[in-house]
């Protein structure tokens, strides 16, 4: 058993378990906290995949900013305990069955197509600055400069949208 597998399996178990726990916890607060664990494990996977910059961005943007926003709204609304009244009774079992179908289909597609055996480089052998902030910045500001600038417009629109939506009608 090599060291990659030794790291991969426990983190994958934590990742899947926290995702399942997020789905089935009654309180929205617990769901949010489990999702933070899940984002942390995904950041660990990014580190194992030689993407240190993305791992840090994952922790700051997702586990930091986005989940704080979620927790803030959950606490603001005070609606963390919803009564579980299903108006469509057969929806929940049907959804689980369809989700299983989706999983089986994607796994079947994955293992029926031939050539995805490509081995990843072990994370114990450092690739020379692949995925480092320097390399990411270089490609971001040369090859992807226009999409990067468009992103700023997107963020501006989102900011204005959030302000307009939450502004009270009379104000």
């Amino acid at each position: 058993m090599n060291v990659d597998l030794l790291f991969f399996i426990p983190i994958a178990l934590v990742s899947v378990t926290s995702a399942v726990a997020m789905l089935f916890s009654r309180h929205a607060i617990y769901s949010a906290l489990f999702l933070i664990i899940n984002f942390g494990t995904i950041a660990a996977f990014y580190l194992m995949l030689n993407a240190p910059f993305l791992a840090m961005a994952q922790v700051t943007v997702y586990a930091g900013a986005i989940m704080v926003l979620f927790l803030f709204v959950i606490m603001l609304l005070g609606a963390e305990q919803l009564r579980q009244r299903q108006s469509i009774r057969w929806q929940q079992p049907l959804a689980i069955i369809l989700g299983l179908f989706l999983l089986v289909e994607s796994v079947y597609l994955l293992f029926s197509a031939g050539n995805q055996k490509g081995p990843l480089p072990s994370f114990t052998t450092l690739l020379s600055d692949f995925g480092s902030p320097t390399a990411i910045g270089e490609i971001l500001f040369n090859q992807y400069l226009l999409p990067f600038e468009v992103t700023s417009v997107l963020l501006l629109v989102a900011m204005i949208g959030a302000i307009v939506l939450t502004k009270s009608e009379k104000g």
């Binding site: 899947v16 899940n38 959804a95 990843l120």
Partner: protein
Amino acid sequence: MLPVSYYILLSAVLFSLGAVGVLIRRNAIVIFMSVELMLNAANLAFVAFSTMYKSLSGQIFVFFVMTVAAAEVAVGLALIVAIFRSRHSINVDELSNLKG
């Protein structure tokens, strides 16, 4: 030396869990969190393939996906707050009227 299919398998599992979460939960906030889970599963596949092909474009894409997710969350949560103000509920089953 893990094969890339391990990561893709994990990504598929997380994506399916997110899809199931969107379908079975009635709380709008938890539905949003499930969408975030699906976005993260897609990101994981992107980074795995990026490392496999030694190309940084996949990681740049993940960067953009994170930006879009942040914008989506800001607008989505603002929508949820606005809906809660007018309907006093974020249960999606109770939001079935087109004209409030």
